[in-house]
C-alpha cells in the first residue's frame, strides 16, 4: 500500500501526515444564538497511527469527526473556518461531488450504532458491493468476491450465507464487523471510528477492539477514534487528544498522558473513573456540570475554570493558549506545572 507524498510529510511513509486539521471551526446556528461546537481545533494523524479524541458529551468530539467528512447536518451546523487536509487535499475546498468521492473511498467512517448506520432494506452483500461499485470500475462479480474476502478478514463466520442477511438479522457485534468491513473495502487512508464499541457488551467490545487493531496494522490506515472510555483509549491509541467544551485542552502520547496528565480536566477524568485498583473512597469526582455550549457563549477565561481545583483569578479572566509542556505534550492551562507537580507530591 502506498501513500502519496504530501506537502507536509517527508518521504518516509510512517511520517506522512495523512490528515492535517488546522484551526477547524464548526458552529451551530440556532435560534438561541451561534454555538461554537468546535472552536479552533488543530491536529494531525500519521499513517498507521491511532489518535483518540476523548471527551464527554457536548465537548465537540463527534462534531469534529463529522466535520472531517463534511457530514455535519447543515442547517444548523456549518464549518465556518479552518482547513482539513487529507493527503494534502483540502476537503473544505472540494465540490460536493468531490467530497462524495472521498467519503467511503479515501476516508471512511464507523459509527456507534451500526443498526442505524446500515441501510435496513439492503442485504449485507448488496450494501457492501455498492461501496466497491461506487468507487471502482470493478464488475459485480469482482465486487462480490472482494466483499466475501473482506467479510472473512473481519472474522465473520460463514460469510456466504451472511451476504444475504439483512442488518436487523445480525447481532450487534456482527453488525459492527460488517460496518468495519464496509469501511475498509476501499482501502481508506483515514478511518474515523465514532464510539465504535459503546453500544456493545464488554466481551463483544474486546472482540471488536482486537479486530480494529489487526485491521489497522494490516492496512496501515490512519485511525481517528472518538471515545469517552479511557480504558478503550489506553488499549487502542498511540496519541490522545482531550477535548473540553469545543476546545483541545491536552494532547500527548498515550503513555505520557496516562502517566502524567498536565491538564486538570484530564487528571480529573482519570481520578473519577474507577479502574481495577481503585479502592473504596478513592474516587474523586469532578465537581459541577458539563457545560452546555449555550452557557459558554459569553464565557471569558478558561472553560474548565468553574470546575477546576487549580483555578486562579487569571484563569477566570484569560483563556490559556495551547502550549507545550514538553516536546510531545501540549496543554491548555496556565497552571500545568502545578498540575504535574501535584501528582509527584501524591
Amino acid at each position: 500500500m502506498t501513500y502519496s507524498a504530501t506537502g507536509f510529510g517527508s518521504q518516509d511513509q510512517n511520517n506522512a501526515k495523512v490528515l492535517q486539521v488546522e484551526n477547524l471551526e464548526t458552529h451551530f446556528i440556532t435560534r438561541a444564538g451561534v454555538l461554537k461546537a468546535v472552536d479552533g481545533v488543530s491536529f494531525h494523524i500519521h499513517a498507521g497511527e491511532t489518535v483518540a479524541l476523548v471527551g464527554e458529551s457536548g465537548c465537540g468530539k463527534s462534531v469534529t469527526a463529522l466535520s472531517l467528512l463534511r457530514l455535519v447536518p447543515n442547517p444548523p451546523g456549518e464549518i465556518v473556518g479552518g482547513r482539513i487536509l487529507l493527503d494534502g487535499d483540502d476537503l473544505l475546498e472540494m465540490s460536493q461531488s468531490e467530497i462524495e468521492d472521498v467519503r467511503g473511498d479515501r476516508a471512511a467512517m464507523i459509527f456507534q450504532e451500526p443498526l442505524t448506520a446500515l441501510n435496513p432494506i439492503l442485504n449485507v452483500g448488496n450494501q457492501l458491493s455498492e461501496v466497491i461499485l461506487r468507487h471502482t470500475k470493478a464488475s459485480k462479480r469482482e465486487a462480490r468476491a472482494l466483499v466475501l474476502d473482506m467479510l472473512k478478514r473481519v472474522g465473520i463466520s460463514d460469510p456466504e450465507s451472511r451476504l444475504k442477511a439483512y442488518p436487523h438479522q445480525l447481532s450487534g457485534g456482527m453488525r459492527q464487523r460488517v460496518m468495519i468491513a464496509m469501511a475498509l473495502l476501499a482501502n481508506p487512508a483515514l478511518l474515523i471510528a465514532d464510539e465504535p464499541t459503546t453500544a456493545l457488551d464488554v466481551t463483544i467490545q474486546a472482540q471488536i477492539l482486537e479486530l480494529m487493531r489487526d485491521m489497522r496494522d494490516q492496512t496501515g490506515a490512519a485511525v481517528l477514534m472518538i471515545t469517552h472510555d479511557l480504558g478503550v483509549v489506553a488499549e487502542m491509541a498511540d496519541r490522545v487528544i482531550v477535548m473540553y467544551a469545543g476546545r483541545i485542552v491536552e494532547s500527548a502520547p498515550v503513555r505520557t498522558l496516562f502517566a502524567s496528565p498536565a491538564h486538570p480536566y484530564t487528571l480529573g477524568l482519570m481520578r473519577s473513573t474507577p479502574n481495577l485498583t481503585t479502592q473504596r473512597g478513592e474516587l474523586s469526582a469532578i465537581p459541577g456540570l458539563v457545560p452546555t455550549l449555550a452557557a459558554l457563549k459569553d464565557m471569558e477565561g478558561c472553560r474548565f475554570a468553574p470546575r477546576c481545583a487549580f483555578a486562579s483569578q487569571k484563569c477566570r479572566e484569560h483563556e490559556p493558549p495551547l502550549e507545550n509542556a514538553s516536546n510531545d505534550q501540549s496543554v491548555r492551562c496556565w497552571h500545568w506545572d502545578q498540575v504535574l507537580a501535584s501528582q509527584v507530591a501524591v
Binding site: T30, R31, A32, G288, P291, T292, A295, R307
Partner: protein, 294 residues
C-alpha cells in the same frame, strides 16, 4: 458548583423562552388565521339573533329568488326567506352539532382508549369492536343510525358520535401504549401508586395534545357530515335552517339562483378550512419532535 448550576439553568430558561416565542411567532400565521376563521363562525352562531337582518323562517312569496341586494345581502330563496339570515342561524346548528359531537366523542373515545391502552386484556376485544365500527364509512353509518332513530339534530349528534368515537379511541390508545412503557410510569408504580392515579396523573395529560388536534379535525368532519346529512334530508329537518338544507333547497335553482348554493357552500368551506388550518398549526405546536428542534 453553585456557579455552574446557576449558569446552566439560566441558559435553559432563556433558551426555553426564546424558543417558545419563536415557535409562537412561527405558528402565528396558521394558528391565528385558522383560529380567526373558526372564531368568526362561532360568533356568527352565538350572536345570530343580533346579526340576522330578517326572520330566517318568515316566508314571503313575493320576494322569491331575489338576487343579493342592499336589503337581502345574500339574496332570498324560493320561499322568499333571507339567505343571509338563514346562514347565520344555520351556523348555530353546525356549531351545536359539531361541538356536541366533539365533546361526546372525545369523552367516550378517551375513556375507551385509556382502558384499551392501559389494560392489555381489554385491548383486544375493545379495539376489535372499534375496528368493526370503523370499517363502515362514517357517513353511511350515520345514515343507518338516523334511519333507525329518525331525523333530528339530536339523532345526528348521536349518529356522528358513534361514528367518530373509534377514531378518537384509536388516537388515545396509541398514545397510552407508548406512554405506558415510559420509565416514569414504572417509577410511579415503584412508589406504590395505583392504576387510577397513574392513568389520571401520568397518562391522561400526555393524551391531551393529540386529543386537541383530533378534536379540531372531528369538528370539521362533523360540520361537513351534518351539512351532508341535512342535504339528503337525513339531518336537521326543515324549516329549521342548516347549511345542509339551505344547500338542498338551492339545488333545484342552480341555474337561476346561484346565491342559494354558493353562499352556504362558502360558509361550510370557511369553517372547515379554518379548523383544518388550526388543527395543522396545533399539531406542529404540540408535536414533541418540534421541541427537539431547538
Amino acid at each position: 458548583m453553585q456557579n455552574g448550576e446557576a449558569n446552566v439553568s439560566a441558559t435553559a430558561q432563556t433558551s426555553k423562552r426564546v424558543s417558545l416565542l419563536n415557535r409562537l411567532y412561527g405558528l402565528n400565521g396558521r394558528i391565528l388565521f385558522g383560529g380567526a376563521l373558526v372564531l368568526f363562525i362561532v360568533i356568527l352562531a352565538i350572536a345570530a339573533p343580533l346579526l340576522a337582518t330578517h326572520d330566517p323562517l318568515r316566508v314571503r312569496m313575493s320576494d322569491r329568488l331575489l338576487p343579493p341586494s342592499f336589503d337581502n345581502w345574500l339574496g332570498t330563496d324560493n320561499n322568499g326567506r333571507d339567505v343571509y339570515s338563514r346562514i347565520v342561524y344555520g351556523a348555530r346548528i353546525s356549531v351545536l352539532v359539531g361541538s356536541a359531537v366533539v365533546i361526546l366523542s372525545t369523552f367516550f373515545g378517551t375513556l375507551i382508549g385509556l382502558i384499551a391502552g392501559y389494560y392489555r386484556r381489554m385491548d383486544g376485544p375493545m379495539m376489535r369492536f372499534m375496528d368493526a365500527v370503523m370499517t363502515f364509512p362514517s357517513i353511511l353509518l350515520a345514515i343507518a343510525i338516523i334511519a333507525a332513530l329518525g331525523a333530528s339534530a339530536q339523532n345526528v349528534i348521536i349518529a356522528l358520535t358513534v361514528s367518530f368515537v373509534p377514531h378518537t379511541a384509536r388516537v388515545v390508545r396509541g398514545k397510552v401504549l407508548s406512554v405506558r412503557e415510559e420509565t416514569y410510569v414504572e417509577s410511579a408504580r415503584a412508589i406504590g401508586l395505583g392504576d387510577t392515579r397513574i392513568i389520571l396523573r401520568y397518562i391522561l395529560p400526555n393524551t391531551l395534545a393529540p386529543l386537541m388536534v383530533q378534536a379540531t379535525f372531528i369538528l370539521a368532519l362533523a360540520i361537513i357530515a351534518e351539512a351532508g346529512l341535512s342535504y339528503i334530508g337525513a339531518g336537521t329537518p326543515p324549516p329549521t335552517p342548516s347549511w345542509g338544507n339551505i344547500l338542498a333547497d338551492g339545488r333545484a335553482f342552480l341555474n337561476n339562483a346561484w346565491w342559494m348554493t354558493t353562499f352556504p357552500g362558502i360558509f361550510i368551506m370557511i369553517s372547515v378550512l379554518g379548523l383544518n388550518i388550526l388543527g395543522d398549526g396545533l399539531r406542529d405546536l404540540l408535536d414533541p419532535r418540534m421541541e427537539n428542534n431547538r
